[in-house]
């Protein structure tokens, strides 16, 4: 992947949520950490054009997130903090198919892709279930399946282990480790990103530190206890 921020920042109601920064992200597994309200989620949302930069520009594999948001979103999948909000249609099978149908694929191709992704995550038994019947871990996998079925090259996950019990956390971690796609994970779960290729630390809307997990996590612990 090749994500570039060129003096890109985001301002909401006159306040800088993300200060302008220039950075290039090419590693396959990147973690994003920081205190609540530090700008992590806004930064991540800028990558797939959910938040457009108030200044500068953001490109993903050479495509500008403002000029061609549709093309960027076909490359960058985003999984929200609360997967309930990710699921648009009540029944899992329908929800997974929705993203494919909007691309006007033939019915047979949609069905094959849905079966394929259900098989990939071993959740075929959940196909006919409703979102509110799923456990936290199942819901996270369902959200992941609904995004990955459209074959994005990059996946952003916003606190994927938030509010999960140990069993479901392990399930999500194992799934994340098995992904072939490039991943960016926003997390307060430091163990989850401890062996990632690179970690970014945000603090008060600013990119404070950027480097290897051990160094950045150590710096985060200092910031958190100030």
């Amino acid at each position: 992947m090749d994500i570039r921020f060129e003096q890109a920042g985001a301002r909401f109601a006159g306040r800088l949520a993300v200060e302008p920064l220039t950075i290039s992200l090419t590693e396959r597994r990147i973690g994003i950490i920081g205190l609540n309200g530090s700008g992590k989620t806004t930064f991540a949302r800028m990558i797939n054009g959910l938040v457009t930069p108030s200044m500068g520009r953001v490109t993903v594999n050479g495509v500008d997130t403002v000029d061609d948001a549709e093309a960027v979103r076909s490359q960058v999948g985003f999984i929200f903090q609360n997967p309930q909000n990710q699921i648009i249609l009540p029944i899992l099978r329908e929800d997974i198919a929705l993203g494919l149908k909007s691309r006007r694929l033939p019915a047979a191709a949609v069905e094959a892709a849905v079966q394929g992704i259900l098989g990939r995550f071993d959740i075929g038994h959940l196909a006919g279930r409703r979102a509110h019947e799923l456990s936290g871990g199942e819901l996270q996998l369902a959200a992941l399946a609904s995004v990955l079925v459209t074959e994005p090259r990059i996946v952003i996950l916003d606190e994927p282990t938030n509010q999960l019990d140990l069993k479901n956390r392990a399930l999500v971690e194992a799934t994340l480790n098995g992904l072939d796609e490039s991943v960016l994970v926003i997390s307060h779960d430091l163990a989850l990103i401890a062996d990632f290729d690179r970690v970014l630390l945000f603090h008060e809307g600013r990119l404070l530190t950027d480097g290897l997990p051990s160094e950045v996590i150590a710096r985060y612990r200092e910031v958190a206890t100030l």
Binding site: A69, R73, F80, N85, I88, L89, E94, G99, R130
Partner: protein, 206 residues
């Protein structure tokens, strides 16, 4: 997230969604083309039988239909008082039949199938360059999707009131219910954008 769809294998479940929507349209038109008490009474009885054939159960049916039934009762009562007893009865029978048939169609059609059917129906408009057919289908699907969600939010708010020993009043329920529903709609809109389900062009902020 809950759903109005009820799994089953009834005759109505097996009918194609497009045909069900056409039948619903035809029934709606027929109901408003006549004032015959015999026809409207028969239609209402048929509506009850149709809905009962789905096997949803009286209690669940009451929970689902109660808000609309109350609205119909208010409309019929107002018509009766402002117009005549006959007009009140006509309004009651028409709206009740319509509610039962529409509820039966909704209970036997998954939201995804609704979206597909409406999208197909809107394709001629897309060819004329007036709309994006998939947007129309998605909009209709989202309306159906949000009905049970609003109801469950109302129930959660009512429970929160009871847990804090507060009396459930419309004045203390309506504002949080609207705010929560709008927030949820915002989040769903973001999910639709994030998943690229509805393509859109954005302008660079100045």
């Amino acid at each position: 997230m809950n759903s109005l769809y009820v799994e089953g294998d009834s005759f109505l479940h097996r009918l194609p969604p497009g045909l069900k929507l056409l039948l619903l349209l035809a029934v709606s038109l027929a109901l408003f083309l006549t004032r015959s008490p015999l026809f409207l009474g028969g239609a209402a009885a048929a509506g009850v039988l149709l809905y009962a054939s789905l096997g949803i159960g009286w209690r669940q049916s009451w929970i689902r239909l109660r808000p609309i039934l109350l609205t119909i009762a208010i409309v019929a009562l107002a018509t009766l008082l402002l117009e005549s007893v006959e007009d009140g009865m006509v309004a009651l029978l028409r709206l009740t039949t319509l509610m039962l048939v529409a509820a039966a169609v909704t209970a036997t059609t998954p939201v995804g199938a609704f979206i597909d059917a409406v999208t197909r129906a809107a394709l001629p408009l897309e060819k004329l360059g007036l709309v994006r057919a998939s947007d129309i289908g998605l909009a209709v699907g989202l309306v159906i999707r949000f009905v049970p969600e609003v109801i469950s939010r109302y129930q959660a708010l009512r429970t929160a009131h009871q847990a804090r020993g507060l009396k459930v009043r419309p004045t203390t329920m309506i504002v949080p219910l609207i705010i929560q529903t709008l927030k949820s709609a915002d989040e769903i809109a973001a999910a639709i954008d994030a998943r690229g389900i509805r393509g859109q062009k954005r302008q660079r902020k100045s």
